[in-house]
């Protein structure tokens, strides 16, 4: 084909040169990176803003409450009239209980779903199940909270009569259900990205489907799976509505799962929705709790990062 069959005298190169010569194009091209940089900076600056607010207010809190009382105290009684106590450990214990139960629920079920979806399900099945899982992930947490309080707790009380109306078990299970799709979906992504040639290699050695899934695909996808678990744990730690509604508001430093608890997040909600005055110790305490919470989730995210780097199996 000749290059200028259709355009008798003008070559394509000429037309391109004409387009290039247009004014304004260059200016737009040059300003785009600047605009994009500004937009990208906004989220970074916001993060810094939040962290600095947390740090300043937390610093103010520690002017009033000794650091080690906060860190090692086993009683959290901020509303006590004569002598308020600000020991963070009961709140951490509450968060820990809920997170632990959530992990026990979500990890086995999430991984089993992921293995099913990536190794066994037909394409049609996957097309149905994945969107349903994503809907589960999109349910507002307040709905989960009511689900825990009005359905799961009464149900559990059938089996565990001593279970209180506010307890750690029920919100723990429901938080587990909430983070399950995250583990299932991210782990499935990790497993699906293991190349089929590796599965073929194992099948050709006489491995069964289960042996391929458990001994080849799972280890190969381990970094992605671990990262998904850590991210899910980090969401469980930060979960607020479910634990506020169904967990209660009794900070307790023990391992009892059947009694009312209070998590770090639930305490912040309690104070924020109450009428603690600006500048009071209680007001500053929510920042100290918030900062502790932030450290936990930050740690989890760093852990996820390190794990996905460290355990990456090259293929």
């Amino acid at each position: 084909m000749a290059s200028n069959d259709h355009q008798a005298n003008v070559s394509v190169q000429d037309m391109i040169a004409k387009q290039k010569g247009k004014k304004g194009k260059k200016r737009i091209e040059k300003s785009i990176p600047v605009i994009l940089f500004i937009i990208a900076s906004i989220s970074v600056l916001t993060t810094f803003g939040i962290v600095f607010t947390l740090i300043f207010e937390t610093f103010e809190f520690f002017q009033r409450v000794p650091f080690f009382d906060f860190l090692l105290g086993t009683e959290w009684l901020p509303f006590s009239n004569n002598e308020p106590l600000f020991g963070i450990l009961p709140l951490i214990a509450g968060t820990f209980k809920v997170t632990l139960i959530a992990v026990v629920v979500a990890v086995p079920f999430g991984l089993a779903s992921a293995v099913y979806l990536s190794e066994y399900a037909s394409d049609n099945m996957r097309r149905v199940i994945k969107p349903v899982l994503e809907v589960l992930a999109g349910v507002p947490t307040i709905v989960y909270g009511f689900f825990a309080l009005t359905f799961v707790t009464p149900l559990l009380q059938q089996f565990i009569p001593e279970l209180k109306i506010f307890n750690a078990l029920s919100p723990g299970i429901v938080v587990g259900i909430m983070i399950l799709p995250m583990i299932a979906s991210l782990s499935e992504d990790a497993m699906s990205s293991v190349p089929n040639s590796i599965r073929d290699g194992a099948l050709a050695l006489g491995a069964t489907k289960l042996e391929v899934a458990v001994k080849v695909v799972l280890p190969a996808a381990l970094s992605g799976i671990m990262a998904s678990i850590v991210l899910a744990v980090s969401r469980a730690i930060g979960e607020t509505m479910i634990v506020s509604l169904a967990g209660g508001s009794t900070p307790r430093f023990d391992l009892d799962m059947t009694d009312s608890i209070q998590t770090m997040t639930a305490y912040i909600v309690q104070v924020s929705t109450g009428d603690a005055g600006y500048g009071t110790t209680i007001y500053y305490s929510i920042y100290s709790v918030g900062f502790t919470l932030f450290l936990f989730t930050l740690l989890m995210n760093l852990l996820a990062h390190v794990i996905s780097k460290r355990f990456r199996e090259e293929y």
């Binding site: 073929d200 290699g201 050709a204 050695l205 199996e313 293929y315």
Partner: protein, 276 residues
């Protein structure tokens, strides 16, 4: 079909763990009878009749899309991973029809090893790659596994290159080394037959040469069926050659005969490079 008499092979010291009790006299290992295969509506293999001999290297040549890879994957039923596959006919392997529903694929694949076009080691250490097969079949003893790993790596002529780095990830090796790891992995469960699907197509000439030499050594203890795009390779390493075209076997004979005096015009055209 021409029957070829081959002298009884002696056991090789390279694979002393391979039992050699049974007579290695030129028996038929795979007898394919009237095999037809469809991918959905596409008739990919048509009335294949092919008797493959023990302790020989059988090369399968032909242009792209002629069904040669499909055929070799039928021999260990890996072809069934494609959901729409249908087959008819028989493939008799050691007196049993492997296409029978009652024939367990795991059992078949334990006896028939396979090496793929692209090296596909597991993302594990070299040691674990080789030990994978024995382990899934229940061999847990560390000492025995150590022995199997060494023997297999020696058998695949790569022991000297990797003996000091058995705990390194197999993906740290070069492509040619990876392919020999995959061969060692197949040897580790002492198969009866080794299927090779264009095992050197992703390798450089030196690695290719090493794999070819290896195939020559392995045929003393194993029956090898190799699909290859490379006619010189078929001529160099195989005892018999089958020429596939459009899903049919055009000609199957001793390699010397195929490459010197082919009886079919299409075979002659293909090997002389007039098409393909």
């Amino acid at each position: 079909m021409v029957q070829l008499k081959v002298n009884k092979q002696t056991a090789s010291p390279l694979a002393p763990f391979k039992s050699n009790q049974e007579s290695t006299e030129n028996k038929i290992v795979y007898d394919t009878r009237q095999l037809n295969l469809w991918y959905g509506n596409h008739h990919a293999l048509k009335n294949i009749d092919l008797a493959i001999k023990e302790n020989e290297v059988t090369a399968i040549i032909g242009p792209s899309g002629c069904g040669k890879s499909t055929y070799i994957k039928t021999l260990n039923r890996m072809v069934e991973l494609v959901p729409s596959v249908k087959t008819s006919g028989q493939i008799i392997y050691r007196d049993r029809n492997i296409l029978d529903a009652s024939y367990g694929v795991e059992e078949l694949r334990t006896k028939v090893g396979m090496v793929f076009q692209k090296p596909n080691p597991f993302p594990k250490s070299i040691y674990d790659n080789i030990a994978y097969g024995p382990r899934i079949h229940g061999i847990k003893n560390k000492k025995i596994l150590d022995g199997i790993v060494e023997q297999s790596l020696r058998g695949a002529a790569i022991w000297d290159e990797v003996k000091d780095r058995l705990n390194e990830n197999a993906y740290s090796l070069s492509g040619g080394q990876q392919q020999r790891i995959c061969i060692a992995r197949a040897l580790a469960i002492e198969p009866d037959v080794i299927l090779m699907d264009e095992p050197t197509s992703a390798l450089d000439p030196i690695s290719t040469l090493k794999v070819e030499e290896l195939v020559q050594e392995l045929k003393q203890n194993y029956s090898i069926i190799i699909v290859t795009h490379n006619m010189q390779q078929a001529a160099r390493i195989s005892d018999r050659t089958a020429f596939f075209l459009n899903g049919e076997v055009v000609e199957y004979d001793k390699t010397d005969t195929i490459f010197s005096t082919p009886s079919d015009k299409r075979t002659e055209d293909y090997i002389s490079g007039r098409f393909g």
